[in-house]
């Protein structure tokens, strides 16, 4: 089930109604049943995969906790890592790696046939696998205690608002909250509904609208012009932010109405002044996961410079691979790794240069300059992310380095008339104000104007845009569902 579907509009109020009516002891059963139903609407048999991953991590965490021997604890940790990552590898990467290996073999004169298994990629597998891994690793390290109640733990893994596209929650944040007896509170309900309204606005009004223009360029790379690629890439940077952070906002809002606070996943990423800062603001739950469970165990920055750069590259390479079984994602992650390494290498020389030129690094102009270039670098990386294949990346880049053609012709090809431009620009301006208000509690709280009405107006716009989308083919799924 997806949030922007009619089924969800029926499902969510029913879940809420019984969640608040049922006694504390049975709440987990209701939420767990609702979460499994939410997932099974898409593909019922794949619920067994979640159950398997849940059972393996649940049992091994208890066995680790019971054991005094470090070797035994390590054995159970390794067994869980191998099992969970094995399942992830099989369903998500088997065809990709087999295809890549066979292509390589044939390139050097081999004659192997294609080996493609007819596998369905389970929605959200990367998200719930990482969530279970963080739990098992934390139990292994002794930073949390193992959960002995299977029901609570299963709910932690499959809690429906964040099951298929995050945020990737940590056990110390979500598990205790799931166990609390939440009552319906007006403050939580309003805050949650407002967050959901903003999320739906991002997805339905901005992302789905922009997707039309982006798809024209990226689905016909050979026909695209330089101007088209530039416009589509800038629009895609807005689309992917609105699509993903919109999903997160809806998830956070859904949980908030129930009194549960999920972690923040985005912090106005395009205000970042460097790529390093961008990753502190973009998909925070994944960035912090990689920091805590990969970057720091590899040695982080407390090692030689060469090793530090290697660690940075590995983290972003793996992050790219996490996003999808396609070389475009691997290249995208690697490019961010290279950005980070170049940023780290040039940090001191840049600081010296700024001092020599008497540049005030905290001035508004310099901040805007840094934000602009960070945005440009991120947009370039989005070309790799959005391109349908490696060969398309080559075509798009070759067109970018040749003459860009006519801007007017490109606008006609994209069907970007004044209404479309106006709606797009207005939506982006509104979005930035909504984000600013959301990020600044003093602005959100101190006004005398009804915030509920503002949220209601946002919801009305979402409804109108939804009707518009239905008239041209309906709402689309969230981009991050494929990961």
């Amino acid at each position: 089930m997806i949030f922007n579907s009619a089924e969800f509009l029926l499902f969510y109020p029913i879940v809420l109604l019984f969640y608040f009516i049922l006694p504390k002891k049975t709440k987990w059963m209701w939420l767990l049943a609702a979460s499994y139903f939410f997932y099974m609407i898409w593909n019922p048999p794949l619920i067994f995969l979640i159950l398997f991953t849940t059972a393996v991590s649940y049992i091994s965490a208890i066995l680790m906790e019971k054991s005094e021997s470090k070797a035994v604890r390590r054995f159970w940790l390794t067994a869980t890592l191998v099992t969970s990552l094995g399942v992830l590898f099989f369903f998500k990467y088997f065809n990709f790696l087999a295809d890549s290996a066979i292509s390589l073999w044939n390139l050097f004169g081999g004659q192997a046939d294609d080996l493609v298994l007819n596998l369905i990629l389970p929605v959200g597998i990367s998200f719930y696998t990482f969530q279970t891994l963080s739990y098992v690793i934390d139990v292994y390290k002794g930073s949390i205690k193992a959960e002995h109640h299977f029901g609570w733990y299963a709910l932690f893994v499959s809690f429906f608002p964040q099951l298929v596209a995050g945020p990737i929650e940590r056990p110390e944040n979500l598990l205790p909250q799931l166990k609390e007896d939440h009552k319906l509170e007006a403050a939580n309900a309003w805050a949650g509904l407002q967050k959901m309204a903003v999320g739906f606005f991002k997805k339905i009004v901005v992302a789905d609208l922009i997707a039309e223009y982006v798809n024209v360029v990226y689905n016909n790379a050979s026909e695209a012009t330089g101007w088209g690629i530039v416009i589509a890439s800038v629009l895609f940077s807005v689309q992917i932010y609105c699509d993903f952070s919109g999903y997160t906002d809806i998830a956070i809002g859904c949980a908030r109405v129930m009194g549960i606070r999920l972690m923040q996943n985005f912090d106005r990423p395009y205000r970042a002044r460097s790529i390093k800062e961008f990753w502190a603001r973009w998909h925070i739950s994944l960035s912090s996961w990689f920091r805590d469970y990969l970057y720091i165990p590899l040695g982080g920055n407390r090692c030689s410079k060469a090793r530090h750069y290697f660690n940075l590259f590995v983290v972003f390479f793996v992050s790219g691979l996490w996003h999808g079984a396609n070389w475009t994602f691997v290249l995208w992650g690697s490019l961010h790794g290279i950005y980070q390494i170049v940023g780290a290498i040039t940090k001191k020389p840049r600081e010296k240069l700024y001092a020599k030129l008497h540049i005030k690094t905290d001035s508004l102009l310099f901040t805007l300059w840094q934000r602009f270039w960070t945005f440009v670098l991120v947009c370039i990386s989005w070309i790799l992310f959005r391109a349908n294949s490696i060969s398309d990346v080559g075509v798009l880049i070759s067109k970018l380095v040749s003459p860009w053609g006519s801007l007017a012709d490109t606008l006609v090809t994209l069907d970007l008339n004044l209404v479309a431009i106006l709606v797009t620009v207005l939506s982006i301006v509104i979005l930035s104000i909504l984000d600013r208000i959301g990020a600044n509690e003093s602005i959100a709280e101190t006004g005398t104007l009804s915030r509920q009405y503002t949220a209601g107006l946002t919801a009305l716009i979402v409804a109108v845009a939804w009707c518009l989308l239905l008239s041209v083919g309906g709402a689309s799924a969230f981009i991050y569902f494929q990961f």
Binding site: V419, I430, S442, S450, S471
Partner: protein
Amino acid sequence: MKFWDFFLTAESGENFPKVLLLMLIGLALAVLLTFLEHRLRAKWVFLALHAVLLTAAAFLFMTLGAGLSEMLVFLLLYLLIRLGFVFLEGRGKA
């Protein structure tokens, strides 16, 4: 090509100048209502007035044959005005 030829869509057609005029009047009223709501703080009275204005605008848009896309532009501008007030008010108080 006239300025609003860019604007013309299949839904609104030749009525667009009237739709545009209606939009501008609606937005001016939105500014006025929001300003009065901010000054007088009679929350429910103004919420009712906003609702009446939006309903009347929707009715007139439909009468003039405007499409959902024009309605969307109007609502986005309406929201922008309101958010502008919320933002300025918050900054003033913060």
